[in-house]
Symmetry: D3
Subunit: 322 residues, 6 copies
């Protein structure tokens, strides 16, 4: 079994360091810390006691991991990235308990970024260099700036462009829908609605159940969303949705647990069909955006999957079962 | 039988003047004109040959009725109101035919207004004093300005305010809809949708078939409507509609052939239900308005009634039959 | 005594026509009308019964004066100018009473303008050619457009530019105020306040009772005034006022019953002092205008003079008494 | 020779009425007026003394021609169109002299329009019904509204669409210019400049003397033009011009005295070449429009032709000489 | 007496370390530095010579204190917070003297923030994590962002919500003021002015000395304040003030040396009365904000207290004396 | 010869450290690094293997120089400034090659700034404290913020204000140009064009070859430039340019290799003449800016000098040769 490599000019006071992990010079790890295998703890890193670090984690120079920080497997933490654990620090005033900060598996924390106390960085997320993270970062999201905002989502390696429409058709109709393009993510598709323009304005129209894939039982209208907000972030077990941006624009991320694809809804004649078991996220709303959503079922709280990790597991199970 | 009264200092060259009609001093009526009964043709009015005037029409001083003008019963024409019959007049260039201008029954043409050639003024409409009318005026509409724009609709005498919701409920449900107010026009009703607001934006929602009175088979989105445009102006024989202004605002006029009522849709949580056989008109769109319409049936051109006079007759027939 | 001149091809059915008045061809005056002396009633004019016309009035061709219209002395009515007396005319529907329209002495009604029923045109006012007058016109105001808006005030013949500040000083101080310019109207004056500008913004300041002429006992802030509105239009018997446009701009008309002057307040460092017995009018508010007014006295309804004619008389009396 | 036709119920007091002219009932022409041949003076028209009317003029009912009005040949004057001759009329105050109003040959004055004193209506111009004309109307211009604004120019009958580029090339180069389209008016042409766009902005470029037809000796930049203003309105005897709208848009009317064509410059990569002896007019500037003009010669006041009538004659002479 | 704790793997070259202070591993303190008692100097901190650190100061990992930095008592300095002492550093170019940076007692410097040279961080202030501080931070202010802006003020522990108005009344009147709410800070109060709204705009009014607590001797208008600016920041020994935001909005912080309260002035009918000896601060001006201030006395420079520390002492003295 | 000073508590594993260089405590330099003479490598600095550092470089505490970083002579690197070498770092995923980051001679990297991988910091540039540098920084530019934007250019020590116009005149004309001001940089000059303003707009005009120094053979129009973009950044060997901001504003930096000067073009009547061999840069474009550029020659790619270092050498050679 591989032994950890502890540099002689470091101070490693814990016994819990996994095999293959390297601790470099001038690093200081306090006795209560637990560090996994095959990690890289670089020069000058400081690790407090109430800290857990997973496997295959890289912590670059100038980073401190304070009490209350948990780093899952395969995380990268760039140089001088700065964690915190007290939202209103005052000298010699110790808070009752430290806010817990969790960096989920596979995330990347950019160089010299700042992570405010108590936020969770989602799995696979990427915090840009110099970002100041003041709120939770969704799974796979890319955030930059001060304060940090979502600017996109990390790509799934190897995912290609949207494929042309298959011969798929709405249930029972036997004929393909016009203006439909498969997105290659969990059966989702883009739909070009018919559009009529004249000097009196413009009108887009959809025949429900004919041109669109289901007859809605619920609709909702979303508006007034600040540009930096992210909405959605859940999946449905059985309910289907159809989204149209009636004014302005927003981006829609579709994730079936395996592939991800992003579309921009920017005109009232473009809709996206999200079948059940798609993790949907909408963001980058323009200031005037109005999102119209049709749902195939009435409201049912049990139909929601709100935790991404749970969704991933459910999706994996379905894929196996299929 | 009453005789017409022809002032000795007028020039009345036609034989077709109805009983009880008065023609005043310095008025001049050419031989081909036909004027109904109980009219009032004031001082200095000039009437050409190819002109038909109905019964009980008032034509005030300083008005000329040119070849091609038809005035139906009960019309009022204010002083110095000016008709035309050639869109691009050049001296001594006689057009192949004159544009026909029709003023429908009961309309009122404001003092010193100008009516461009070939427009139709709808029944009961009111043209404001000094208005310059460059396009057709819908039935009962009030238009003012240069160019004239619709600013409202003439009230039906005696129509009261909206009544509170009756115990009516969607077909088969047996329970009244929450947030519903009867409008007292052909079964139409206003609906307050549920609205959720938080820092991430606002969301209004409707359960179709439960909170709203039907399950839609078609939807359309109307946007980019210039503020002076009027849309709708038709009725459906059997299709129901539900309208929500998803952004901005517009006014909706509902007319069942007997009563008229107007509502302003100005928030995404307010909808109006228009049963079949309502003549619907939308106007005063704000620049950012997006109107969302649900229809209970797929598109069927035979379901449309596009002429107001026909609608009035159909509505009257139904009322009798009911 | 001069006799009226009645053209043989007119129809003048009234006996009440003043000396020196001319009634031209094709004009028609009904029996009940009363017309003053030295008037000019041009070709084709029509005058109903319930009409009073003062002395030295000109009525050009194509004008009708309907029941309910009163024209005071020295009024000019341009060709084809059109009066009305029923706000919602319908044929053969006679209103209970006609709205009364009054044109005050010395006013001028532009060619082809339209006057809606019941409005009063103030003394000395000037209605622009083609204007459509939908609301009362203040004394001496100039209005144009459809609908007509106040664009200025008619000048008093012979009034010169503002004179430089006299040696006048605030009561008891014995020293002239800095930055003061006499306006030559009832003791009113313009005041340049001290202004300080730096990157943190700008600040204008006035020492009350030192730099400004009185210590205020009341202040008010006026905002949200539509650009076409006219405010003020009253005088105070004893209260003084000091006006500053804290943001945006507006025009202030000062009238002491003899002279008129107009100033534009367009910066927070410019104020105007209105002593008692100035008829003050503010108009052409910019959309963002905020007018700050100091008053030397607490609110007292008896201190207001709200009718211009009364003000004129009071001012004349004071001038005589002084 | 044809005699004029004078209706027995008119009052025609002048001896100067041309052959073939008709004067209708209740019209009144004062002794000093001069009226040409083949005119039509309709019912109720009033003509003062200091008035000249050309040949083939139509004056519809309800019109008055006051002292100071001149109507050239072939003019049409619609019903109730209203002329004026005193900018600030007061009753019984006769101005020193009347402003002179001239309507040039072939113009058309819309029904119920109002013409302020002293304006000139250019030849072939068309004043819309109900317009209130407060400033001179350029030749051939179409004006509407209150106040009236130029909205376009009357078409030359029979002028077709722009022809594709001929093999024409700049002087001496022997090769055709790329991106050039002949406009069919006096050698004028449209030029598409090369355009480069990238995230840093866009750049349009023209090689002078190569891609464009001459080397400039002068340039000017025009901006801040109110949307209702008309600029240009002159021709050059020998100077050529090249116009590009560097921002915003404007319309350019080109007139070689025989044909007219209008182009809209709406992007920095579109230019129009105007050879010498083109009457050029620019109008409908967008609020942000910046017009860049290159001229082939230095400034020379003798090179300008500023009167349209003179230009027409010069152009006709050249055409004959060519 | 407690001894300092110096980690054997640190380099502590100064003799001036207070009792109870801990210096941790890899920290390096140069010989000239002076460090107080009960401090915590964490791993890897570097302290130059010309540095003074007070008592009970925490300096987290990755911080350097350069020549010219003074840290008062009870300051917290978060990890990787970065100080500077040369505004335009160039390698090997030593400035004549270093800008002095002072962090006042009780302030908190956020993790990974950057403090530009020469700024003073006020007592009790809180610099947000990741902030880049380019200008002085007022006492108790909270600043965030790059560049850092004031977003609020730290609360005084235990201060409750505004209390309802007491029976207090203006001097001599004997009656309470209507619309008044005590703020619980040095006698300050909020005042709802009477507001009148109609289609002609809105008017708010205050009777001075009746509804408001004093008769003003000075007024000033503040406008054009950039949103990130802070104004005020002084107290008066005897002058009272009354503030109204005549347009837009701003926040007003009132501090009597013991309690602090913040109000938002956001309408022309809301004023705040600041008695003497209130430290007043205005910030978060909206772009269109116009602040109107009345002062009870004429301008007197000796009435100003411009240093917060002096104000605190004066206020404490008064409280004792009272 | 001076020896390097290596602190005993540092880890300096390379043999390539220049004379006079100091390496301080807890610094760690890997074996492959090459460090020049007279450098200052402060406490806790970490230097990887594939790193080259020039002479007289200062690297303050908390900095790491990663594989791929090159630091030229005389560079200053502030405390906690953070470099990176992988644009999308993932733990344990080593990119094929590291992006190379180069800091050119004389640049200054601000405290706690973040430098993204692969950017080049130009010679003499100044990166503000806390800046996040995401794109290359031009020579001598000053950048601040997150993300960093150019806000100005570092001054050349000792350069004075623009001198008044000399007697210089355009080639061959013998007479000075009106409205010209020499800028003192490579013969460049400012030109006030003649400007004409009236209610119809404003017009600025230049006679080419008379008022302006050359006859153009090319023009281009630049628009739609984002405010943070920098354009130009090249010199011409023989082509002259004349720049006018036809709308909006931008800043123009002129650099002849020895002196630099900046002018703001903010009106259509202000132009700047750039002779050949001026390194020109335009930045801070307002959103509506349209830059009009005349060039004295047709396009010739061989006339461009696009690398600043090459320009500096060429300029120096010319200066010597002159």
């Amino acid at each position: 079994m591989k032994q950890p490599h502890i540099h002689p000019q470091s101070l490693c006071e814990t016994a819990h360091v996994g095999a293959g992990t390297r601790v470099w010079a001038f690093a200081h790890v306090l006795p209560g810390a637990r560090i996994g295998a095959d990690c890289n703890i670089c020069d000058g890193v400081f690790v407090e006691n109430d800290v857990v670090v997973g496997d295959r984690v890289t912590v670059k120079c100038g980073v401190q991991l304070w009490d209350g920080v948990t780093i899952e497997d395969d995380v990268f933490i760039g140089p001088n990235a700065t964690f915190t654990n007290d939202p209103f620090p005052r000298s010699r005033v110790r808070p009752a308990g430290f806010a817990r900060t969790v960096v989920r598996a596979g995330a990347s924390i950019g160089a010299n970024s700042t992570i405010l106390p108590g936020v969770e960085i989602g799995g696979g997320a990427m915090v840009g260099a110099g970002a100041v993270v003041t709120r939770p970062v969704p799974p796979n999201a890319i955030v930059v700036g001060n304060p940090a905002r979502v600017t996109g989502y990390a790509a799934v390696p190897g995912s290609g462009p949207p494929r042309p429409a298959s011969a798929a058709s709405p249930a029972g109709s036997g004929a393909p829908l016009p203006g439909r393009t498969e997105l290659g993510v969990g059966g989702a598709s883009l739909h070009e609605l018919r559009l009529f323009r004249d000097p009196r304005g413009e009108l887009s129209v959809g025949e429900l159940g004919r041109e669109l894939p289901f007859t809605p039982r619920r609709f909702f209208l979303v508006s007034g969303v600040p540009g930096h907000e992210v909405r959605g972030e859940h999946a449905h077990r059985s309910c289907e949705q159809f989204l149209v941006c009636a004014r302005g624009s927003c981006r829609v991320l579709l994730d079936d647990g395996h592939d991800r694809r992003e579309v921009t809804l920017d005109r009232p004649s473009l809709g996206v069909h999200m079948p059940a078991m798609i993790w949907g996220t909408q963001y980058r709303y323009s200031p005037d955006a109005v999102l119209l959503v049709f749902a195939s079922g009435h409201y049912d709280p049990d139909d929601y999957v709100s935790a991404y990790e749970e969704f991933r597991k459910l999706a994996a199970g379905r894929a196996v079962g299929a």
